[in-house]
């Protein structure tokens, strides 16, 4: 009778362990997905912060130039600048583009600026 009890307890523990192993596999995947998504959100925030800094610097700079900056996570920020002469001044077309490691464009921030001509028309 005692042996029968021990056997049934052993079977129960074995089944419990099997069930735990299966559950842990699924739950672990959920945690891994959450971690991956959380990392991605953090990277996006960092990219946005860096791109905004770069766009504001480009807007305020007197003579900005084409620049490429690679962030720690491999995202590449590219600044493109071109100038267009207008009737009364210069329109400086500029934009900051962020491209991730897979080649996907995350965002493009235009930071163009119009610089009026210095002459005063009488």
């Amino acid at each position: 009778m005692k042996t029968k009890n021990i056997n049934s307890l052993l079977v129960e523990v074995l089944l419990a362990m099997l069930f735990f192993a299966l559950s842990a596999t699924v739950i672990l995947q959920v945690f891994v997905t959450a971690r991956t998504e959380s990392d991605r959100a953090q990277r996006m925030s960092q990219v946005l912060f860096a791109a905004q800094n770069l766009a504001d610097e480009t807007y305020l700079a007197e003579h900005p130039e084409d620049t490429t900056i690679t962030l720690e996570d491999g995202t590449v920020l590219t600044v493109t600048v071109s100038e267009e002469m207008k009737e009364a001044g210069t329109f400086r077309n500029a934009s900051v583009t962020a491209v991730d490691t897979e080649g996907k464009t995350l965002l493009t921030l235009p930071c163009s600026r119009y610089i009026p001509g210095a002459e005063v028309v009488q």
């Binding site: 523990v13 419990a16 739950i27 959380s38 946005l48 009737e87 119009y114 009026p116």
Partner: protein
Amino acid sequence: MNHRRFNIGPGAASLILIIVVLSMSVLGVLTLMNARSDISLSERSLAVAEETYELNQRAEQAFAALDAIAVAAAKDSADQTAYLAAIEKALPEGMALKEDIVAWTEHGKSGRSLACAVRIAALGEGPRLTWAAHQMTVNSEALGMEELWN
């Protein structure tokens, strides 16, 4: 001595296991929901930043167009009144002149808009135009914020 024996009956291991698995599942789902909302917030931040910079770009383009109008108006005007009248006549749709300030609004796709105003200097003085207002406004109805709060 009176010894009290503690026996683990059949089903106790299963009960503990169910409690542990349920707890882990709840924690996992909460973590995943938190991560998803982080992603959603980040994507929204990117969209808002792009829209804001796009509106600024359009405001600069309008500023450039207005400067060209001011230069052209100055060439044909003898005094300040004629100068302002010539500018008012040449203003594109959406821009309005009040005293010496030209105001207009750039509208974004998702209910955000940029209210712009430029002060026109007196004829012959420089700089011809200076920014008087550059204010971002949010239409909460268009963004669905009313529903969000309710």
